[in-house]
C-alpha cells in the first residue's frame, strides 16, 4: 500500500485551514499548514510533500506566483489550486501557472479529498501500465478491449474511457466532476445526474452476468472501482 500521504495546505483562512487539517487527518493524510504565500513557498521548497493545496488569494505572495516560483525552482510537487474565483478562465490561468488541478470554492470536502488522493498517487507511479486489472476485470489500453473472467465485454468508446479512468484510480474515490473533467474534458455544470446514468450503464455492462460487484457508489462523494476480496 501507499505510505501515508503528507500534504501542505497554504491557506490564509485559519478556520478553514484547521477544518481541512482535521478532515485530512481523519482520512489518513498528514498535513502541514502555511498561512501566507512566502512561508508556503519556503515550506514547499524545504520539505518533500506529496501534494500542495494552494489557495489562490494569499497575503504576501499570491497562490499562482507561489506555484510559478516552485516550478521555476524545479520542484514539481502536484498542486491543487483552491479559488473563490470559479470561472472557466480562472481555471485556465491556474493550470497555466503550473497547477495540476483546480477546485472552485465552495467545495465539498469529499471532492477535495478525492482529488488530492489522485494527485498524490500520480506523483509516485508514472502511468505506464498497458493493462489495468481490478479483480477479474481486465482493461487493455492498447487493444481497447475489456474482459471479465476472460470474457470480452463490448463497450462504447466513451464507456471505455470511463472505465479506464476508474480503473486507473482503482481503490480511490473519483467524483462526478472528476469524471466529467477527465472523461469528457468539460468543466461545466451538467445540471442533472448525467454522469450517474453513464456510470450505471457501464456498471450494468461489467457486472450484469457476474456475482461480484466491483463498481461501487460512495455516498456523498462519487464512485470507486475496487475488488473487495483483494484488499484486506
Amino acid at each position: 500500500m501507499v505510505a501515508r500521504m503528507k500534504i501542505l495546505i497554504i491557506e490564509d483562512d485559519l478556520e478553514a485551514a484547521a477544518y481541512l487539517a482535521k478532515a485530512f487527518r481523519e482520512a489518513g493524510i498528514v498535513s502541514d499548514h502555511a498561512s501566507d504565500g512566502e512561508s508556503g513557498l519556503f515550506m514547499a521548497s524545504e520539505n518533500n510533500y506529496d501534494v500542495l493545496v494552494v489557495d489562490r488569494m494569499l497575503p504576501r505572495r499570491d497562490g499562482l506566483s507561489v506555484i510559478t516560483e516552485l516550478r521555476r525552482k524545479g520542484i514539481h510537487t502536484p498542486v491543487l489550486i483552491l479559488s473563490a474565483l470559479g470561472q472557466v478562465d480562472d481555471r485556465v490561468t491556474g493550470l497555466r501557472a503550473g497547477g495540476d488541478d483546480y477546485l472552485p470554492k465552495p467545495y465539498a470536502f469529499n471532492e477535495l479529498l478525492a482529488r488530492v488522493e489522485v494527485l498524490g498517487r500520480r506523483k509516485g507511479t508514472p502511468d505506464q501500465d498497458m493493462v489495468y486489472r481490478v479483480g477479474d476485470l481486465e482493461l487493455d489500453r492498447l487493444s481497447h478491449s475489456v474482459r471479465r473472467q476472460g470474457k470480452e465485454i463490448p463497450l462504447q468508446p466513451r464507456e471505455f474511457r470511463l472505465l479506464e479512468y476508474l480503473m486507473k484510480n482503482a481503490g480511490q474515490v473519483v467524483t462526478r466532476t472528476m469524471l466529467l473533467e477527465n472523461v469528457w474534458d468539460y468543466h461545466f455544470d451538467p445540471q442533472t445526474n448525467v454522469i450517474d446514468v453513464h456510470v450505471s450503464r457501464l456498471r450494468s455492462k461489467i457486472e450484469k452476468d457476474f456475482d461480484v460487484p466491483l463498481l461501487r457508489t460512495v455516498r456523498g462523494a462519487g464512485y470507486m472501482i475496487k475488488d473487495d476480496r483483494a484488499s484486506a
Binding site: 478562465d89 472552485p104 468539460y186 461545466f188 455544470d189 451538467p190 445540471q191 442533472t192 446514468v197 456523498g220
Partner: protein, 468 residues
C-alpha cells in the same frame, strides 16, 4: 454679460475669434498691397505719358525751333483735360502755359520733380484750391525751362476708391463672419447645454433619459447617438443587476428557509441519527451554491468577452459530445435524443461556455418534454443564411409566444415549471453566452400550428459564421 463670457469660452467662438484676427491681418495686408500696387502702376503710367510728351516736345523744338514749340504747346494746352505745360524764363518766372502758380524752386533743376507737387490752375476760382501733379522739367539751350506735368488727382481718387471699396467689402465680410460664428457658437452652446441638462437628469438617477438628437446627423448627433447607445447598455446592465439583487433576495430566500427549517427539524429530533437530515442540508446547500455559480457565471460572461478566452472551436464536436453526454439521461426519461450534426463547423468561441449553454438547453428539453406524446428531442447543427444555427427542438408543452422574452430573464420560471428542479437561470446563461459570441438566442414553437395541443419549444443558438 456672464452669458457672453460663457459663449466666448466655447471652442467654436474661440476658434472663430482666432480666424477673425488672422483674417483681418490678411485683409489689411491685402488692402495695402492692392492700393500700393495700383498706385505704383498709375504713377508709372503717368511717367510714361509725360516722358513721351517730353520726347515729342524735344523733337518739335529741334525741328521747328522756338516758334514751333510754342505753337505746339499752345495747342496741347488747349485740349480738354490737358496736361500741365509751363514755359518759364531762366530765373523761374512763368512766361506761358496753363498753370497759374507752382511751388517755388520747382523749375530750378532739370529732370523729374522729385515728388508730387502742388500747383494752381487759371481755372481755379478759389485760390486755395490746389492740385497735385508730377512733372518733368526740360531746360532748353536758350535757358528757357519747359515743364510738362500730369495731374495726379485722378489716380489719387482711384486709389482712394479702391481702398474704400476693399475696406467696405472686408468690413462686410468680417461682420458677416462674426455673426455666423456667433450663431454657430451659440447654437453649439445651446446643444451642449441641452446635453448636459439631460446628463444631469441621468446622473440624478433617471437612466431612461436620453440625450437629445437634432436629426441632422452631424457630429453632435453622432456623439449623442453613441452616448445613447452607451446609456442603453448601462441601463440594461443596471436593470439586470437590479433584477438580480431583487431575485437573489426572493429566490435565494426560499432554499435558505428550507435549509434552516431542515436544520431546525434535525435539531428537534432528539437523540436519533441526524445523518439523513444533514445530508439533505448538504444537498440544499449544493443547490444554493449551484445557483450562485450560475449567477456569477452569467455576470462574468455578461461583463464582456475579454473575460473568457475565445478560440477556434469545433462546434460539431461539442454538439456531438453533449448529445452523447445527455443521451442516456434522455433515454431514462423515456425520450429520444436525436442528433443531426453538420460536420466540421468551426466557430470562434469558448468551448466550455458553449458546452454549458447547449447542456442547459438539452437539460431543459429533457425536463420539460418528459411524458410528452412525441418523445423526440432533436438537436441539429447547420449552416443557414450565413449563420451557424444550433437548435434544440422538443415536443413538450412549449412556451406561449408572449412569454418567450420573459423566460430568458433571470430567475423567471413559468408556473408549471416551478415544481421541477432548476435555478431559473439556464436560459439567461445561454443568452449571455450567445451575446458574448456575437450571436443570438431565438425561441420558437417546434410545431408552428398548435393543432395537436403540445406544440413544443425550439431554442436556437445562432452564431455568426467565422470568416475563414
Amino acid at each position: 454679460m456672464s452669458k457672453l463670457r460663457v459663449l466666448f469660452r466655447t471652442t467654436a467662438v474661440r476658434l472663430s475669434a482666432l480666424y477673425l484676427i488672422l483674417f483681418s491681418l490678411c485683409a489689411a495686408f491685402l488692402v495695402f498691397y492692392v492700393t500700393g500696387m495700383s498706385e505704383r502702376l498709375l504713377q508709372q503710367q503717368t511717367r510714361d505719358a509725360v516722358t513721351a510728351e517730353v520726347a515729342q516736345i524735344e523733337q518739335v523744338y529741334s525741328r521747328a525751333g522756338m516758334n514751333g514749340l510754342l505753337r505746339s504747346l499752345e495747342r496741347r494746352a488747349r485740349q480738354p483735360g490737358a496736361n500741365l505745360y509751363v514755359i518759364a524764363g531762366p530765373s523761374g518766372e512763368i512766361l506761358a502755359g496753363n498753370v497759374a502758380s507752382l511751388e517755388p524752386g520747382l523749375l530750378d533743376s532739370e529732370g523729374w520733380t522729385e515728388r508730387p507737387f502742388a500747383y494752381q490752375r487759371y481755372t481755379d476760382e478759389n485760390k486755395k484750391d490746389s492740385h497735385v501733379a508730377l512733372a518733368h522739367v526740360l531746360v532748353l539751350d536758350n535757358g528757357l525751362r519747359i515743364l510738362v506735368g500730369r495731374d495726379l488727382q485722378e489716380p489719387q481718387k482711384f486709389r482712394a476708391l479702391v481702398r474704400q471699396a476693399l475696406m467696405v467689402a472686408l468690413g462686410v465680410m468680417g461682420l458677416g463672419a462674426l455673426v455666423i460664428w456667433f450663431g454657430i457658437g451659440r447654437n453649439a452652446l445651446k446643444r451642449i447645454d441641452r446635453m448636459s441638462e439631460a446628463s444631469t437628469k441621468i446622473m440624478a438617477g433617471d437612466l431612461s433619459q436620453r440625450l437629445p438628437m437634432s436629426g441632422s446627423g452631424d457630429e453632435f448627433d453622432r456623439l449623442s447617438e453613441s452616448l445613447n447607445a452607451m446609456l442603453s447598455r448601462i441601463e440594461k446592465l443596471n436593470e439586470g443587476l437590479r433584477q438580480v439583487s431583487d431575485n437573489i433576495a426572493h429566490d435565494l430566500k426560499t432554499p435558505l428557509t428550507r435549509l434552516r427549517n431542515k436544520a431546525e427539524a434535525a435539531l428537534a429530533r432528539k437523540g436519533t441519527s441526524q445523518r439523513g437530515a444533514l445530508e439533505e442540508i448538504i444537498g440544499e446547500s449544493d443547490q444554493l451554491i449551484r445557483t450562485f455559480n450560475a449567477l456569477l457565471m452569467i455576470s462574468r460572461v455578461e461583463a464582456g468577452s475579454s473575460v473568457a478566452e475565445m478560440s477556434e472551436i469545433d462546434l460539431s464536436q461539442i454538439v456531438a459530445d453533449c448529445v452523447e453526454l445527455y443521451e442516456p439521461v434522455a433515454e431514462d426519461a423515456g425520450l429520444k435524443l436525436e442528433a443531426d450534426i453538420a460536420q466540421n463547423l468551426a466557430i470562434s468561441g469558448n468551448r466550455e461556455l458553449v458546452g454549458q449553454a447547449l447542456g442547459n438547453l438539452i437539460d431543459n428539453a429533457i425536463k420539460y418534454a418528459e411524458g410528452a406524446d412525441n418523445p423526440l428531442i432533436r438537436v441539429s447543427l447547420e449552416k443557414l443564411d450565413g449563420h451557424v444555427v444550433l437548435a434544440v427542438a422538443d415536443h413538450g408543452s412549449g412556451i406561449p409566444e408572449a412569454m418567450h422574452d420573459e423566460v430568458v430573464k433571470r430567475f423567471v420560471r413559468l408556473d408549471e415549471s416551478r415544481s421541477k428542479p432548476g435555478t431559473g437561470l439556464g436560459l439567461s446563461l445561454v443568452e449571455a453566452v450567445m451575446e458574448m459570441h456575437h450571436g443570438s438566442l431565438r425561441l420558437a414553437d417546434t410545431v408552428p400550428s398548435a393543432e395537436d395541443g403540445g406544440k413544443g419549444l425550439t431554442v436556437q443558438m445562432v452564431f455568426p459564421m467565422t470568416a475563414t
